[in-house]
């Protein structure tokens, strides 16, 4: 059988291929890009109500979180702890489990305290901190092992059986939320000295409680009712209404492209952020675990949307270029044939 291609065959082949390619590409987005379910839950953290449980040793929300999650905290055999080769260090919080004034693998929420000047007076502001449960979580997007899942109810959860502890999620999180514990997890079964670094831990929005229709532990525990829980939409409305009432501000709706946590404060968040940064500077505390509150911080994944579009167009462009090249070759061969 001759391999010579006629113009008619070429048009038949190429039109079929282009149609098939287009169907595949347009069909793929229908399969994969289903509409996101709107069953998200959210919280409002009202800073005008929170007093950091000043009269207690540990704030009630922090205590409730620690009690509720104690079975999930890492269980480390300190004899097996080894530095991350070729580094000389490793991240171990197992001997500092009592720390409750920052985020650690054993402390998934804490209440930060800052002093700010606002409207001519000095104010103490207490800011409960934990994972914001972003709408398009950067941590989940870039995890090289897909160990982080965003649930339909809004919870962003790290699978401790899948996490290798590379801490990339902490590096890309605008608030450095996940914290690493060495000596536990999958990497211990592989080559613990040379690969991986442990498991990352953070607030999981009490995903197990949410599953059975209950509220997260911190919500119930707050004696001041400073933390509200409900559908994300109702929480957003509550946050903006409350902000209007107190002539205040909302944080968490726009940040990192949107989150499930809405802070309300009378003091602008720029001032709170500045105060945290100043305090970190003064105490020389630059280790992760004490997040700042940068206003309107952008989601780095969103800046790649344009590139994603290019990736979607690339196959069509490739097929078109192939058609153009093949047609030109066919035309060239025909001209040569006619000349002969």
């Amino acid at each position: 059988m001759s391999n010579r291609l006629t113009r008619r065959e070429f048009i038949k082949n190429s039109s079929g291929a282009v149609v098939l390619g287009t169907v595949l590409l347009t069909g793929a987005d229908k399969v994969f890009a289903q509409t996101k379910p709107s069953t998200d839950k959210g919280t409002v953290i009202d800073l005008t109500q929170c007093d950091g449980c000043s009269a207690k040793d540990t704030p009630a929300c922090v205590l409730a979180c620690r009690t509720k999650n104690q079975d999930k905290f890492p269980k480390v055999d300190s004899d097996h702890l080894k530095p991350y080769w070729p580094q000389k260090t490793y991240e171990d919080w197992s001997d500092k489990q009592d720390i409750s004034n920052r985020l650690t693998p054993y402390n998934w929420t804490f209440v930060d305290k800052v002093v700010v000047e606002h409207n001519g007076s000095t104010k103490e502001v207490f800011v409960p901190k934990r994972c914001m449960h972003c709408d398009n979580p950067t941590c989940a997007g870039v995890c090289p092992f897909s160990a982080i899942k965003k649930y339909e109810n809004g919870a962003v959860v790290i699978n401790d059986n899948q996490c290798m502890g590379g801490a990339k999620c902490r590096d890309v999180c605008p608030w450095d939320i996940p914290q690493r514990q060495a000596g536990v997890g999958l990497y211990m079964k592989l080559a613990p000295e040379y690969l991986g670094g442990g498991v990352m831990y953070k607030c999981d929005f009490c995903a197990d409680l949410l599953k059975v229709g209950k509220e997260p532990a911190c919500v119930n525990a707050c004696p001041k009712g400073a933390i509200s829980f409900g559908t994300k939409q109702s929480m957003r409305e509550l946050a903006y209404n409350r902000a209007k009432e107190v002539a205040g501000f909302v944080y968490g709706d726009k940040e990192n492209g949107g989150t499930s946590t809405f802070y309300v404060s009378k003091v602008p968040f720029e001032k709170i952020d500045k105060a945290i940064k100043k305090q970190k500077q003064e105490t020389n505390d630059f280790k992760p675990g004490r997040p700042t509150m940068e206003v309107n911080i952008e989601n780095k994944l969103d800046s790649f949307s344009g590139m994603a579009l290019s990736a979607a167009i690339a196959p069509i462009a490739g097929i078109a270029a192939a058609g153009f090249a093949a047609y030109n070759k066919l035309k060239g061969e025909k001209n040569n044939h006619e000349e002969e």
């Binding site: 391999n3 291609l5 065959e9 070429f10 082949n13 190429s14 291929a17 390619g21 793929a28 987005d29 994969f32 890009a33 509409t35 996101k36 379910p37 991350y84 070729p86 580094q87 709408d135 398009n136 997007g141 870039v142 995890c143 090289p144 092992f145 897909s146 899942k149 899948q162 590379g166 801490a167 990339k168 590096d171 890309v172 492209g257 989601n299 780095k300 994944l301 969103d302 790649f304 949307s305 590139m307 994603a308 290019s310 990736a311 690339a314 196959p315 069509i316 462009a317 490739g318 097929i319 270029a321 192939a322 058609g323 090249a325 093949a326 047609y327 070759k329 060239g332 040569n336 002969e340």
Partner: protein
Amino acid sequence: MKRSKHGKIYRQSLSNRLVHWGAAFSIFSLIISGFGQMPMYKRYNIVKLPGAEWLGDYSITLLMHYVGAVILIFIVFYHMFVHLFQKEYDAIPKRGDVKESWKIIKAIITKGEEPPSEKYLAEQRLAYLAIGVTVLILVITGIIKVIKNISIAFIPHSIVTISTTLHNFATFFLIFLIIAHLAAFLIKANRKLLPGMITGYVDEEYVKHRHIKWYKKLVDKKNRS
């Protein structure tokens, strides 16, 4: 356009060479930037090497990975369709290729006579299939990973996990295949093919002795025209 050179045979068109080197460079950039996503450059002190600090910046390596991916996807689709449109299937494995490639290897070791070959040797066709399938797996799983990062898109987590795992394993398999591809040139007999991917031409004498079936076809075609 007719191309002829005394004592040489035109083996790789400009289109083929651009595809080969475009794929090579984009895959190289994807491997470098992909390892940056693992993450490993900070851990293994590679960022401390002079001029390598940028490797520790995810926003740079991720952008580099996206750019490399767009180029590779374009090349892969161009390559598949340009050969489909032109009905050129020389590199596709044929029945009996495994047996024939073993015969060629045996001939190289024992310095015996190789079976007559087409434009591509049987092992070249098998290597093409292995590299092609691996690259396709990387492209498809990579596209799923890209869609996952778009805020309005929703992909079931199970599909994302399968894609990520396949993407990671296929990367290591592709690196192994690239090493094998380069190692093929340790064999002296294969080195005559190298100029084909650079200038497009290979020695006629080489083709006459090794790619006997292809040479015969070229001579027949010349006699017909």
